[in-house]
C-alpha cells in the first residue's frame, strides 16, 4: 500500500532526527571535556543529511508510483566535526593547561546547541504528524468500504 511509503519516508526522517539529537546530547555533555581519545579537547559534531532514493524492494504498483513521483527518504551520511578553534580559558592550575596557562575547552556553544535541539525536536514532531496524517488517510479510505 502506498500509504506505507509515506510512513517509511517519515521513519527515515525520525531516524535521522534521532541521530542529530544524539549528537546534540553528546555536544552538551562534553561542553567541558578537555581530553579525548584522539587528543586535544572535544570537537563539536554535526550530522549531514542526504536525500536518498527509496528502497525499491517490491515491484508493486505503489513502489513504481513512488519512483515516478520522485519521493526521497533522508539518511545521515556523514558526521562532520566543527572546525572552529577551541575556546581558550586562563586556568594555570588545570592539568591540561598549556605553558602559558591557557586551557583549550571544546568549541561548543551551549546556546547554539539548545537552539539546534529545539529544531531537532520540532522536526521530529513534524514527521510524527506526517505519519499520523498518512495513517488517518489510510483509515479514512478503509471507511469507504463500510
Amino acid at each position: 500500500m502506498d500509504f506505507f511509503t509515506a510512513m517509511d519516508i517519515s521513519a527515515s526522517a525520525l531516524t535521522a532526527e534521532r541521530t542529530r539529537m544524539n549528537l546534540i546530547s553528546s555536544n552538551l555533555a562534553n561542553v567541558n571535556s578537555t581530553r579525548t581519545a584522539e587528543g586535544g579537547p572535544y570537537r563539536r559534531k554535526d550530522a549531514v543529511f542526504t536525500a536518498t532514493p527509496l528502497k525499491d524492494d517490491a515491484n508493486s504498483f505503489g513502489a513504481a508510483l513512488s519512483r515516478a513521483t520522485d519521493a526521497r527518504s533522508v539518511a545521515v551520511t556523514r558526521i562532520s566535526e566543527d572546525t572552529r578553534p577551541p575556546r581558550l580559558q586562563y586556568e594555570p592550575g588545570h592539568p591540561d593547561a598549556d605553558p602559558q596557562g591557557y586551557v583549550a575547552y571544546p568549541n561548543v556553544n551551549v546556546v547554539e546547541e539548545m537552539a539546534d535541539m529545539i529544531t531537532a525536536s520540532r522536526s521530529y514532531e513534524a514527521n510524527i504528524t506526517a505519519t499520523q496524517a498518512a495513517k488517518s488517510m489510510a483509515l479514512k479510505t478503509l471507511e469507504l468500504m463500510r
Binding site: A11, F61, L142, R146
Partner: protein, 104 residues
C-alpha cells in the same frame, strides 16, 4: 495517455489474475481460484506484517538496538493492513449473504 502508461506497471494486472484467466479460459477456470488466491496472498502479507511487528516489539523489549519509532510504525502497519483485511472479509461475507437472501 496517462492511463495507457499505467498499464505497463504490471502491479494492477498482477493483483487480479483471475479476470485475465477467466477472459482467456472462459468457463473452464476453476471456480473460486481467483478471489480465493487473492485472499490467501493478502492473509499471508498481513500475517508477515503482524510477525514483523511482534519481532520488533520483542527485540525492543530485550534491549536489542531497534528504534522505538520503527517498532511503533511496524505495529501501525500491521494494524492498518489487518483492518483492510477485515473490511475485505466483511464485504465478501456481505455479498454471500446478499446472494443467499435472494429468492429463487
Amino acid at each position: 495517455m496517462e492511463i495507457t502508461a499505467l498499464t505497463n506497471v504490471g502491479g494492477v494486472s498482477r493483483a487480479f489474475p483471475a479476470s485475465e484467466a477467466a477472459g482467456a479460459a472462459g468457463a473452464q477456470a476453476t471456480p473460486g481460484a481467483g478471489f480465493g488466491k487473492l485472499l490467501e496472498e493478502m492473509v499471508g502479507k498481513v500475517s508477515d506484517l503482524q510477525q514483523n511487528a511482534d519481532q520488533s516489539i520483542q527485540s525492543l523489549a530485550v534491549g536489542e538496538s531497534k528504534g522505538l519509532h520503527e517498532v511503533m510504525l511496524a505495529v501501525e502497519k500491521a494494524s492498518i493492513s489487518f483492518q483492510m483485511l477485515t473490511q475485505v472479509r466483511n464485504k465478501a461475507v456481505e455479498a454471500y449473504q446478499e446472494i443467499m437472501r435472494m429468492p429463487v
